[in-house]
Symmetry: C2
Subunit: 335 residues, 2 copies
């Protein structure tokens, strides 16, 4: 490992001078600065992040808090896309990312402790139980925090337009002539509330009455639960002509149920999903859905976080909504 000292020797200057030259201080003559930089390249010098961190208290490391249970968020397509853009935007700005978990080795530690241990400069939080005491502890700590799809009042948040998306899908279906529209939604999180609200607004605006049994709860990303909910819906005395599903992936459960009953999509029943993941576009017929802008969600979250990290005092909490867009697909029939 080659250090600042090696460079100083080779250049005949002090380590202090090397450090300054490398960091662009202006009390170094242009000539020596150039010399230092040149030999640094020659020797293939890399600053030691740990030493630097120890002095500056800046790790250039962003903590990422995703769901910690069983199947990690990594395997959800929606979140793996967000993670990917978080990672890329971080790297483009000179930051690495570290997954924050509570079990690191035999040591059980809190999220906050993990952050401290790794000296994260800030944290992006997504897809967790936002009421979890440990998450709250982190949010209320000294750490800059940005949340995705949830909003605390002391931290910036980046939000997918769930109300809008759901509203638009519901409107689209209604405007293609449907009057008996059902919604199968996920667990009652904030995101879900907004989707339900968007759905109801669209219905209300058109004077469409939705009986309570047309709104059912299932579990996000859980094929089996959605299949059951779909079966129940189809078993109603007066079944809907269109069903909105909690997400594209879980829709596959409903799809199986529909197909196995010998029904055709969209001739016998219209459907739509949510997310706009790849899956929607490669199945047949292509699934009408709402494409969430995962790329922007991740990038903006990181941008806002870095803003806060680098200007802890001036940066104020923002509530940002990222617009998605409809993917029309082929699963909503005009009637």
């Amino acid at each position: 490992m080659i250090t600042i000292k090696d460079i100083s020797k080779k250049c005949g200057v002090s380590p202090a001078t090397v450090s300054k030259a490398l960091n662009g201080y202006d009390d170094i003559s242009p000539e020596t600065a150039a010399l230092v930089r040149r030999t640094a390249k020659e020797l293939n010098y890399m600053p030691n992040a740990a030493a630097r961190l120890l002095k500056t208290n800046r790790s250039h490391n962003i903590g990422v808090l995703f769901i910690d249970d069983s199947m990690s968020g990594l395997t959800h397509e929606y979140f793996s896309h967000i993670l990917n853009s978080v990672k890329e935007e971080s790297e483009e700005n000179g930051y690495d990312i570290t997954f924050i978990s509570k079990n690191i080795g035999k040591q059980k530690m809190s999220f906050l402790q993990h952050c401290r241990y790794r000296n994260c400069d800030g944290v992006v939080i997504a897809n967790v139980d936002f009421q979890n005491p440990e998450v709250l502890e982190l949010v209320n700590s000294e750490y800059p925090v940005v949340t995705i799809d949830f909003s605390y009042d002391n931290a910036s948040s980046v939000n997918s337009d769930n109300q809008e998306g759901s509203y638009t899908l519901a409107s689209y279906i209604a405007d293609r002539g449907h009057r008996k529209i059902a919604l199968i939604h996920g667990e009652r999180t904030l995101v879900t509330q907004k989707r339900i609200s968007g759905f109801k607004t669209a219905m209300a605006e058109r004077g469409i009455e939705i009986p309570p049994e047309y709104i059912a709860e299932a579990t996000y990303h859980d094929v089996e639960s959605v299949r059951k909910a779909t079966a129940a819906m189809l078993d109603l005395d007066d079944p809907p002509t269109a069903i909105m599903f909690p997400d594209d992936y879980a829709f596959m459960g409903g799809r199986t149920e529909i197909i196995e009953r010998g029904l055709n999509i969209p001739d016998d029943i219209s459907v739509c999903g949510y997310d706009g993941v790849n899956l929607a576009k490669i199945i047949d017929p292509k699934l009408t859905t709402w494409e969430q802008n995962t790329d922007q969600l991740g990038r903006i979250a990181v941008d806002k976080l870095i803003e806060k990290i680098e200007n802890p005092d001036t940066a104020i909490p923002e509530y940002i909504v990222v617009r998605g867009r409809m993917y029309k697909g082929e699963t909503v029939k005009q009637i």
Copy 2:
């Protein structure tokens, strides 16, 4: 931030003693050791990883080198599962992971440089161009390295049983009466070579002649390329009765082509995929495929890497094969 010194003051001992007590040295009396540990808990002490690293040269940080281009490996289900198990196994052993990329901020750096900058203790490499000079530079560096699905001779590797998997699928199809079996494979990587080899072995063992046009190249994970290859296959004068696809996801392209021609799976044509990702099990009919054991692949890679990190001298390179298993599905018809 509370340090070792705070504890030392509160306990009336020296910082050295605190450090030793916390690290289980045996030249500390049980009483003081207990006292130190107790107050450490009380004060909610967390060691500073940077300072520790600076002294010990051990970061407890594992570099993860996944594909760096465009769409990251994160969005491939196979690799996101591996990544997930790499992450979990690392954490269970007290390590965090860091993505190794070449663009960190404005600084372009090599993979090796990035590792050095972050003081990784070792690196897991998967899903990259293994002949890339920068990857080779890393492999031939001082760093402990473990590769997944590729093998260098100076590093341990963990390999999915591609030959075996392909062989087993091909045999299964043949043993259900098929004689005209086609293989659409991915780019010619080592993995692909093994799959082709497994396929040919199974055919040869049964004395089945495979004409060259029954073996076609497409691109992994590329729905469109596979769709085209499928179309070409179906256009043959003497089309196959069964097609093996490069992976479950890309199979969806072939599936669309088949369905749009009014053919039925498996009545008119039998198919199988590869990977065993969730998708295979939620489509209808369920896709016959080979489940790669992503969980073990990731975990063993990390175990072997840590072994090497902690015993740099005694640990010798191993070539490890992880067995998958067949998922029978419903897409191969008995004829």
